[in-house]
Symmetry: C2
Subunit: 346 residues, 2 copies
Amino acid sequence: MPGIKDVAERAGLSIATVSRALSGKGNVSAQSRERAQAAAAELGFVLSYHASSLASGRNHNVGVVVPSVHRWFFSSVVEGVSATLLDAGYDLTLYNVSEGEERRHSVLNDFLLRKRVDAVIAVSLELSEAEIQQLLAIHRPIVGIGGPLPGASTIRINDSGIAEAAARHLIQLGHSRIAHMTGDAAYEKDFRLPGTRQGGFTKAMRDAGLTIRPEWLISADFTIQGAYASARQLLGSSMERPTAVFAASDEMAIGTILAARDFGLRVPQDLSVIGIDGHELGELFGLTTIDQDPRGQGALAVRRLLAGLEGGADTAAADTEYPTKFVIRSSTAVPPVDAVLPGKRY
Amino acid sequence: MPGIKDVAERAGLSIATVSRALSGKGNVSAQSRERAQAAAAELGFVLSYHASSLASGRNHNVGVVVPSVHRWFFSSVVEGVSATLLDAGYDLTLYNVSEGEERRHSVLNDFLLRKRVDAVIAVSLELSEAEIQQLLAIHRPIVGIGGPLPGASTIRINDSGIAEAAARHLIQLGHSRIAHMTGDAAYEKDFRLPGTRQGGFTKAMRDAGLTIRPEWLISADFTIQGAYASARQLLGSSMERPTAVFAASDEMAIGTILAARDFGLRVPQDLSVIGIDGHELGELFGLTTIDQDPRGQGALAVRRLLAGLEGGADTAAADTEYPTKFVIRSSTAVPPVDAVLPGKRY
DNA sequence: CCTGCGACTGGAAGCGTTTTCAATTTTGGC
DNA sequence: GCCAAAATTGAAAACGCTTCCAGTCGCAGG
């Protein structure tokens, strides 16, 4: 294991100069730089990041806390974060806190405070003010994606706005019997999404003078399977059926489409379905959706952090609204003409 | 930022004793231990892992290299790895090398050699012998999941065996016109899966005296969407249609089922479909599959590494075959009785 | 009461860099 | 060519722990 000392000897330079030459900081003559680099290459020298971090206080490492790496949104964000971080020469320490409260607590209170990370990206996680302050206290900037972080920077889409737009899309097509599939209460806790999106839905409906039937307000766990089960109940049991479903996520929209097919309902002729996300599978199902580009959000979060870290200035907390894109495909259309007949089955 | 020094002062002990007390190693009197822990708690002291690692040489950090975190198998493995690592107090550094060769190269040659990780888990990645030796040279044990790693430990399922079993399942049901959807050639490079599974398929077919029609040997990119497109071609264009499809992954099996439905084919009455994986969505589609429990594989990989790291002994390279479970659901059945009629359309 | 041994403890030497500081060498301007 | 300013360099002091190495202390055995 060659150390910087060996490189220095071989290059005929001092340790200090080699350090400067290899890190690119400080003034080093071109000649010294070359010699140092050559010697390092010959010896196969690789910086020890421990020593480097210990001495400099910079880790080149960002912690990413996600509720799960197994779900579409989160893994998309992680991919975006990962690529951008790797490009910048940073490591990414992943904290997957899927297994509940105590795991989450230990990550926040033990792992993150070990000073191994320069900054933290929290995805769809609501940290308490205390947790945030604790991190900020040890000079670890935080940026949140898709979750409210009081006192820290966040990147989020305009959830209520796009939910409203999605609902309005259906309304403008002529639908009035619109169901909404939201997230289970369990997801409300951290993500806050279900409520916000449902709020947008409610607003659009009210603005249009439409009533929201409680029995058409269903929920699922954000997965295709879960939504499928909920949608089967909705479509199979109610006397009167909605002509359109606005699902709070693409996966749930797809589950709904699959359930509709089970009942012989054609999408969009018999039932319009719209989602939110921009899931890759959407195309296969012709799903109309609002693309929120999670990879891009992840990449942006990293650029934000890095700018702060390398720029030096403790960038003030800022909330950025990430732009979304309305993607109209074939899962939404005007309602069936006979939609008024109650109890009709197709 | 309290340091161990502050804790020592507050506890009225020496730095050395505090270190021993907090780490649990070495002999420390119960009284000292308590005092040290109390002082640490009062001060909110958290070990600096840099200093700790630098001094001790142990990182409490494992690097995980995955081709993508966005696909089912990989994210499942990562979840298993993550949970087990967190339990053991280890950090997980994620290297997502999805963006091609140069990314992969930089991770292997720059990032991993920075001595930040104690060990490396490579998922479905084929490392060259040189790359492996390089890591082993700096005493970083490697364990591979689902990919061949010459010279390192691996955990893998018996790919050719289960593929054979899957095909045999169809054959025993009475199918003789069986198609196989394998992975694109692009995936062969690292994963080696497509070929191996196809090998199992071939063997089962040959053993049963059945012919493999080249036009029924199709491939896709392991995604639902990709498989859907390929399956549409298979089911829509060929004069004669297979009565069963064996897909090399559950996602591809699901894509196949969706394509079949598009053509009005009932599964399993008109077409049997079997996959491999144990994907959560399988249940929704009644997919018969072979569950390979990737979470469990990830967890096992970690336990293996940890045993080696903490046990001290450089555990010899060992290949473990991870057990799989045959899950029979409703997507496979006996072939239709009129299946012999060529060109029949349903 | 002395010896020997094991359990504890503290001092201090690293671990492998970065960075400050002062010294030395160049460079540019006249 | 001469001088101040700028560029370059090396010695050495951190960085915050772990751990080796000697002690120190208490106690059982003789």
